[in-house]
């Protein structure tokens, strides 16, 4: 029983990272109808920036102390993500207003290559470590309830807390501020939003910036766990089944979808693996997505699109 729960918790932790990446997808899709293929590249770019800046900034300014160095690196990396958002709106989205979804998708594919190229040429191509001082040692919990207790990685636990906090803050921002309200308005109806004087261009910059910040946090958590390297860009592909499962238009869907995929991967690997061969983790999520596409294409929480004939 203890082992089952450990697997489950491991899956939840992995799933939470998928959730963060999927959240970036959903935010941008809702506000602009763009399926942003560059989300993975944004995670890579943000993580690379964070990894290198947390070394460069203390070196340049002669700062001693990890906390200050990391904070400065975070702020600068965040500012970089704002610049990315601004450039994307100015040079890509603005010229593609009212174009087909496929055109916009191709454009984001281009954005992905530019981000990967610029990111690796500025920040380098090696494997970098992000050290934000996450506790590495595992702890034993609930020793009373289970025989042998549950072995949990403290790092995962902190990461989960950070992710939950980020989602909560975003929810507050969307619900309680006038800009958040404008963002929701644009997500619901572009035309009406424009008629009350909400500038679409500005909203897109903000949405891409928020998605960039989410990518930055996801990148830091991932990088501090597994290191930052080029393969991080493919995390977008892992998050794809998550948005299909959760629904492209639903923020709670992205979060719950991510957790389901994470847990499903780990449990299927451990419990189905012995019968049908290992390596299930790699394709499980795509199979699940396929089933959803067949039977519930709008996802768990997505809006059903009804066309009036």
């Amino acid at each position: 029983m203890g082992f089952f729960f450990e697997t489950l918790i491991g899956g939840l932790m992995a799933g939470m990272l998928y959730s963060l990446v999927a959240l970036g997808f959903v935010l941008i899709f809702k506000a602009s109808g763009v399926f942003n293929f560059a989300q993975g590249a944004m995670v890579l770019f943000a993580a690379l920036a964070m990894a290198r800046l947390s070394v460069w900034i203390p070196e340049c300014l002669g700062i001693d102390g990890r906390v200050l160095g990391n904070t400065l690196a975070f702020v600068v990396a965040g500012a970089l993500m704002f610049v990315v958002a601004w450039l994307v709106e100015r040079f890509v989205l603005r010229h593609l207003v009212n174009q087909e979804g496929a055109t916009l998708l191709m454009a984001t594919l281009g954005v992905a290559y530019v981000l990967e190229g610029v990111g690796t040429s500025v920040f380098g191509t090696e494997v970098y470590k992000i050290d934000v001082g996450m506790p590495k040692d595992p702890v034993l919990i609930l020793e009373g309830s289970f025989e042998g207790g549950l072995l949990i990685n403290k790092e995962d636990f902190v990461a989960a807390l950070v992710a939950a906090l980020l989602v909560a803050l975003l929810a507050l921002f969307f619900q309680k501020t006038s800009t958040g309200r404008a963002l929701r308005a644009v997500a619901d109806d572009h035309q009406a939003a424009q008629s009350i004087g909400i500038p679409l261009g500005r909203i897109w910059v903000i949405v891409w910036f928020v998605a960039g910040l989410v990518a930055l946090v996801a990148g830091i958590i991932w990088g501090s766990k597994l290191g930052v390297q080029f393969s991080l860009a493919t995390v977008a592909l892992r998050a794809l089944p998550v948005v299909i499962l959760g629904g492209l238009t639903s923020v709670p869907g992205a979060i719950i979808g991510g957790l389901i995929i994470g847990v499903g991967e780990k449990l299927s690997e451990v419990y189905l693996g012995p019968y049908i061969g290992g390596g299930i983790e790699i394709w499980f999520s795509y199979q699940l997505a396929l089933v959803f596409l067949l039977f519930r294409p709008q996802g768990l929480f997505g809006e059903k699109i009804i066309d009036r004939v």
Binding site: T179, A182, A193
Partner: protein, 259 residues
């Protein structure tokens, strides 16, 4: 009757076509301060196209819009909103996932001065501003008698109430010119009466200039100061309701008599 004010909105020889189809042909008319100006016509006459041109949704191939002396050849919905125009939609275009309150609050968007950063950290000025706007919005909610559904997501409201929220959101902008796209379409008699009362009150109490599109002649003739009649994208009548009613071209357009 307020028809004596100065011209605030002047449309000059506006032509609009979609591909080969002419939606509007050289239409000119003006709107005076504080009047209720109706645009009527049978189905497909180009009424909605006209409103969408004024609002900047469609860009006419020819013609100009002069708004308080300022010429616009390329009007956009955003510019129109900034210039003090707000509108409602024929097929209600509310933010369906949001509550009545949030929908109307969204209408205050242009009047919000605090920046993203202040809002993000929920800083004093941003919060006080939010409360001040909330107060104005509550007045609008009272005025439209929708207090009881304040927190309901608009998607769940009956049609007649959604129309009121649509009007409320437009009013929240405190417009100087209000464009109403078939505000009474699909309503029953009682709802129509309520809507007429709101429109007249807005015009009377706030001094808002109103441009209104209607399909149904009856109601319009009662509340408008002046009426423009369109048919097949052409202007066939313009004047006070009694004159328009007596115009033989208008009668034939509406009754389908021989052309």
């Amino acid at each position: 009757m307020n028809a004596g004010g100065e011209v605030v909105l002047d449309l000059q020889k506006v032509s609009l076509s979609f591909g080969g189809v002419k939606a509007l042909t050289e239409i000119s008319f003006d709107v005076r301060e504080r009047e209720i100006r109706a645009i009527i016509g049978p189905n497909g006459a180009g009424k909605s196209s006209m409103l969408n041109v004024i609002n900047g949704v469609y860009r006419p191939q020819q013609g100009e819009i002069v708004l308080r002396g300022q010429r616009f050849t390329r009007m956009t919905p955003y510019k129109a909103a900034r210039a003090g125009m707000s509108r409602t939609f024929q097929n209600i275009a509310l933010f369906r996932g949001m509550s009545v309150l949030d929908n109307i609050m969204a209408g205050r968007n242009l009047r919000i001065a605090s920046n993203l950063f202040q809002q993000a950290i929920w800083w004093g000025p941003a919060r006080r501003e939010e409360l001040a706007h909330r107060e104005r919005v509550e007045q609008i909610i009272d005025f439209l008698e929708i207090q009881h559904v304040r927190k309901t997501p608009v998607g769940r409201l009956p049609y007649g109430l959604q129309k009121r929220v649509d009007l409320g959101r437009a009013l929240a902008m405190e417009p100087s010119i209000l464009l109403l796209d078939e505000p009474m379409a699909g309503m029953n008699v009682e709802e129509k009466q309520d809507m007429c009362r709101f429109i007249l009150d807005v015009n009377d109490q706030l001094g808002t200039t109103i441009v209104l599109i209607e399909h149904d002649m009856g109601v319009v003739m009662d509340i408008s100061d002046r009426v423009v009649v369109l048919d097949y994208g052409r202007k066939i009548g313009d004047g006070i309701p009694d004159d328009v009613r007596a115009n033989p071209e208008v009668i034939s357009a509406y009754l389908g008599a021989t052309h």
